[in-house]
């Protein structure tokens, strides 16, 4: 009796999740595993009928190939700079836009727009800003400053990060939602105790926003490690162009190996290594969260 009831529960559960599950299995899980299988072969895109198993050779190449390690290093650097700063900017903007100021909706739209603009247009726009006689250098010229080769070797990564930070308003919606969720009585209590606005921010707002920051941090890390189109288009014109070396990020390397040089097996191995790296980082952040993320309920994620 109990058995049938339980079975029924299971059946109902799986029936309800089945639309998602079926799509995930066929378009998610199967391709993933198939990709994993191919990363152990010498697949080049056209040799399906002559596929050879090559063991861990592609994975060995990932770690022995100085380029992939260089690219991974640069990617981690960009992530390490981009993510914290964009978190800070995102939160700062949200706090400002949570105030009762004139033209609020206009400001909110303005800061959110970068997240809606297609990435290709964004890059093209910044290319004009950064180029030799571009907007930024013209401004420098007016201010009697030396022009800077923004897209050159020394500043290319800076330029890339500035461009990425332009999109920091992307977390605005969720940040605002988080801010609205902070009970007003906490602020009132703080005011009665005579807390300054800065004090209020650090003792009320920030602790109650940590779960939002935590979410943004994970999404930011994942997104940042997967950047590839921005560096390519910042110095090139087509997807197969090489970005300038300091902006040669990990996914650019993988994309080039697959689509420019038909090294599908190696490219897929690169992707799986990245997947594992992201997984590890995420686990690490999750682990760390118990020390700094505050939940009003005692429940952990």
């Amino acid at each position: 009796m109990l058995q049938t009831k339980k079975w029924r529960q299971y059946a109902t559960f799986y029936a309800f999740v089945s639309p998602w599950l079926i799509i995930f299995i066929f378009l998610g899980l199967f391709p993933l595993l198939y990709g994993l299988y191919l990363s152990f072969t010498n697949f080049t895109g056209f040799n399906m009928n002559q596929l050879k198993f090559v063991g861990f050779s592609n994975y060995k190449t990932v770690f022995l190939d100085s380029e992939s390690m260089y690219a991974l290093g640069r990617t981690l650097l960009v992530t390490a700079i981009n993510v914290p700063i964009s978190l800070a900017i995102g939160l700062f903007l949200a706090v400002l836009l949570n105030l009762k100021i004139k033209g609020l909706s206009w400001w909110r739209t303005a800061f959110y727009i970068p997240s809606v603009v297609p990435v290709v247009s964004t890059v093209l726009m910044w290319k004009f800003i950064f180029s030799g006689d571009g907007l930024l250098n013209t401004l420098f010229d007016k201010l009697q400053l030396q022009p800077i080769n923004w897209l050159g070797y020394e500043y290319a990564t800076t330029a890339l990060i500035v461009m990425l930070l332009w999109g920091a308003g992307g977390s605005l919606l969720i940040n605002l939602a988080g801010l609205k969720g902070i009970p007003a009585d906490l602020y009132e209590a703080a005011e009665i105790d005579g807390a300054s606005p800065v004090r209020k921010f650090f003792t009320v707002t920030l602790p109650l926003m940590t779960h939002i920051l935590f979410f943004n941090l994970i999404m930011g890390i994942i997104g940042s490690l997967q950047i590839y189109i921005q560096p390519i288009l910042l110095s090139g014109k087509t997807l197969l162009d090489s970005p300038i070396k300091p902006n040669y990020l990990y996914l650019v390397h993988a994309f080039q190996q697959i689509f420019a040089f038909q090294r599908f097996g190696y490219g897929l191995a690169l992707m799986w290594v990245l997947f594992i790296a992201i997984l590890l980082l995420t686990v690490l952040v999750f682990y760390s969260s118990r020390f700094w993320v505050y939940y009003e309920t005692d429940q952990e994620v």
């Binding site: 056209f46 002559q50 180029s131 006689d133 070797y153 994970i218 997967q226 014109k237 162009d241 689509f259």
Partner: protein
Amino acid sequence: MKKRILTSLAAIIATCVLITGCGASSGNGNVNQGGKTAEEPTTAPKTNEPVTIRVALSKGEVSDDEVKEFETNNPGIKITLEEIDQQKLAAQLATNDAPDLIRAQGAVDLTSYVVKGLAMDLTPFMQTSQVLKEDDFLSPVNLYRFDGKVQGQGPIYGMPKDWSPDFTIFYNKTLFDAAGVKVPDSKEPLTWNELMELAKKLTLTEDGKVKQYGLALLGKTQADFPSIMLEMASKGVNVFSEDMKTADFTKPEVKEAVSMWVDAVKKNLGKNDVNQDPAAWGGDLFMNNKAAMIMAGYWFSGMIRGDEKMKTHLDDFGMLAAPIAENGERVSPTGAATGFIINKNTEHPEQAWKVFEYIMAGTPAKNRATGGWGVPALKSLLPLMPQVTDFDKRVYNQLQEELKYSNGFLESNPFLLNGQTLLDKYVTPVYFGKADLDEALKELTKNANLIIQENMNAIQ
């Protein structure tokens, strides 16, 4: 939250799966229908149902009017034009869902299509064709011949729709005057060194800003793969070994050629990675009077002819011979020879061939020839090329000169596509003084060989 990475990863892998899933089916497909070439009767249905032939091309290469004309004259065949996208095409080829006619470049990817077994041998069709006859072919048609070892020999897999000797140089006399430099004689080709010297004189700066560049390439005025191969052809130096198994970019001749381009970047002769000029391409600079010369094929005369501002003073423009190496042989080959191949797995070879013939010798071919956007592949169409204005005649006459030296081909390797991507990767740091040229060329050679080897092993 891991979903996002999962989905994006899945998207990429899904592409691969498409390709592989298809690879498998195309493998089987080969067994079932691989033999279906010209000799066999087509499997086309005998009913009156029209057959659809899909053509992958770049926008505007065949017009809707031309399609209509063909369909009126061939009621059994419908043409669908599809804009070509290399990544999509790779997936289509693997799933056996590729278009019947595929845009290819004789000098770039033809051999790669052949070694991968994707191009149909058109020799039997050519032998019986009423409109495409071998003695009417200009030499670049041979770029579509490949016997598995040497390009230019063996079965024919397609042909160029049009082509140009791609390394000729167009000049803008107004900018020569501004620099107080005389336009060189077009009869004798310049050597690369002379060209660079000239470009240096033509590059003018004002208050530290470039007023005009000396030399534009289609892309950037820096190490350019085809131009380097051109210089090697003129010197008679091979980069790839005869068995195509290895590449050697460390040869002193290659180094000399690349360092010339490194120098061109230092002297700021055109748009490059260091100055990051925002112009979309070299043609933009030339068309806006910002570059005195541009290295481009005959087709570029179509740009000048069609430009509202340039049209009014065509006397200021002309074409110079392709440059040669110091003491080198005079060569003026094509760097592209864009045309079509027929998909080996097409279900309608006869009908596909009809469309092929129409594009190569019918109205589209005539329209291309009269438009002056390239040199036709057929001798019989040459007289249609524009020869109205003095500019037309000047360019046409120079072209006739170049054609005498256009029989040779640039070296290519079927297992190494996108040489430019690789070259840029290693040489760009040299422009910034961040890497040593010898080291860069060594790395380039090492990685090129790795790619060649992997791609070669994959199909053997």
